[in-house]
């Protein structure tokens, strides 16, 4: 089955932080997707020049509605345009869903750990939301690393207090007043706590910048997690 280009109309843009946006499109004919998958977005200039980049889906399948997380990259060719310039009501093209490995399938019942760095939380958020909608009783644990509270995405969905989600926020530069943990990168101790509720074969999903994913992957295997249980997605 071929993956085809489809028209996608921007219907809503929601700021997540100073440079990050959620973009909601309607895509007639969208075939649906799994939490964790991504799409290619294609932009076309008036002289026919085209540019394509990949963006993660931030929400579970919902008819023709497709929600993408876009982090504006300084000097980026595509992301600043998507984040701030593409007018609501206008169209781009999308192709997907793509990526059948970094996915969580609703119906799975084992406990799961999600580890996100910065914008790497986008595909993990789709998993959290799908888990919330499903009847899965497997515990969901999230370790989310951000520079400061202002940099966090999806604060409502990923807040503490949801009975279906155990959240640990790691602030790397600046922690809000009253935070017990001193600011700093994710440590073995953070991951030891986050993995305490897992079974040996429980899946761990790690997504973020390359350095973050490399560090977390090394720490997890150092803690004795089976590398075969760890799925990764790296940005840049």
């Amino acid at each position: 089955m071929a993956v085809v280009w489809r028209r996608a109309r921007l219907v809503e843009r929601v700021p997540q932080n100073a440079t990050a946006r959620t973009l909601v499109f309607t895509v007639p004919g969208w075939p649906g997707h799994l939490p964790g998958q991504h799409v290619d977005v294609r932009l076309t200039a008036d002289d026919g020049y085209q540019a394509v980049r990949s963006y993660s889906l931030a929400a579970p399948a919902d008819g023709n509605r497709v929600e993408l997380g876009v982090q504006a990259v300084p000097d980026g060719e595509v992301s600043p345009y998507l984040a701030d310039a593409l007018p609501v009501g206008s169209e781009v093209e999308v192709r997907g869903p793509l990526g059948n490995w970094f996915v969580w399938r609703p119906g799975r019942t084992e406990p799961v750990l999600l580890v996100g760095g910065g914008s790497g939380v986008v595909p993990l958020t789709a998993m959290v939301r799908a888990h919330r909608q499903s009847l899965s009783r497997g515990a969901f644990h999230l370790l989310y690393s951000v520079r400061s509270a202002d940099d966090a995405w999806y604060r409502e969905d990923l807040a503490d207090g949801h009975p279906d989600l155990d959240v640990r926020l790691v602030y790397t530069r600046k922690a809000p007043p009253g935070t017990a943990r001193a600011p700093g990168r994710v440590t073995a101790a953070d991951l030891a706590e986050a993995t305490a509720g897992l079974l040996p074969a429980s899946p761990v999903y790690v997504c973020g910048p390359t350095g973050f994913v490399e560090a977390v992957g090394d720490l997890l295997t150092g803690l004795g997690r089976d590398p075969a249980t760890i799925r990764t997605e790296r940005f840049g």
């Binding site: 089955m1 071929a2 993956v3 028209r7 290619d40 294609r42 932009l43 076309t44 200039a45 008036d46 026919g48 020049y49 085209q50 540019a51 394509v52 980049r53 990949s54 060719e77 345009y81 310039a85 593409l86 007018p87 206008s90 169209e91 781009v92 093209e93 793509l98 990526g99 059948n100 490995w101 970094f102 790690v206 390359t210 994913v213 490399e214 992957g217 090394d218 997890l220 295997t221 590398p227 075969a228 760890i230 799925r231 990764t232 790296r234 840049g236």
Partner: protein, 199 residues
């Protein structure tokens, strides 16, 4: 008249003859892997070629480094749409490993430390088209880029250039590898945009 993405201008149009369709050029070297990065010490490293009859040819790190070494400069193309021009590698031509291998097989499955696999027609590995490389830009290949040694098959999308390469199994039948089993194209020619099943 274009009706998509009003006001989008994009970057300077460049290197169209070197850039396969749907790709963009990058100066950086992005990392894409399905799992954590395996750390493979060269002391215990081994590379094997196993024929369809089960005959195994094996090289230790020192034996591999004692083979004729080649330097090659190549453009590489990742299915996630970045291309990187003029990358400089050092390693051993696959032709060298296959010199004494007797086979009638048409396909290979390449396997890696860590469990990754990818499949190719044997003819795509021969006649100067593929290398086992251990050096990038004069430095030992780093683990996240596939060190200590990876495959380099630059005429196909880069997922075919298996990181942490451990062995090549010759097969009579074409057997889909890791990404090829979950939606990536079986062959992966960037100039024909063979990204996914059905492309």
């Amino acid at each position: 008249m274009n009706s998509f993405s009003p006001g989008f201008q994009g970057r300077a149009r460049q290197v169209a003859d070197k850039l396969p369709p749907g790709q963009y050029p990058t100066e950086s070297f992005p990392v894409l892997s399905a799992g954590p990065t395996p750390k493979v010490p060269v002391e215990s490293w081994q590379f094997t070629v196993t024929t369809e009859t089960g005959r195994t040819h094996a090289w230790t790190w020192d034996q591999m480094m004692a083979l004729p070494q080649q330097e090659t400069v190549q453009d590489i193309h990742c299915v996630t749409r970045w291309s990187k021009f003029d990358t400089r590698w050092r390693g051993v031509s696959l032709d060298t490993f296959f010199e004494d291998v007797e086979t009638a097989a048409d396909y290979v499955v390449v396997s890696s430390y860590g469990g990754y696999t990818t499949n190719l027609p044997l003819e795509d590995l021969l006649d100067g088209q593929a290398w086992l490389v251990h050096t990038f830009d004069d430095f030992p290949l780093s683990p996240e880029h596939g060190g200590p040694a990876r495959l380099l098959v630059p005429h196909l999308y880069f997922w075919k250039s298996a990181k942490w390469v451990q062995g090549i199994q010759l097969t009579d039948e074409d057997e889909p590898g890791f990404w090829e089993s979950v939606g990536y194209h079986n062959y992966g020619d960037p100039w024909r945009e063979q990204r996914n099943w059905g492309d």
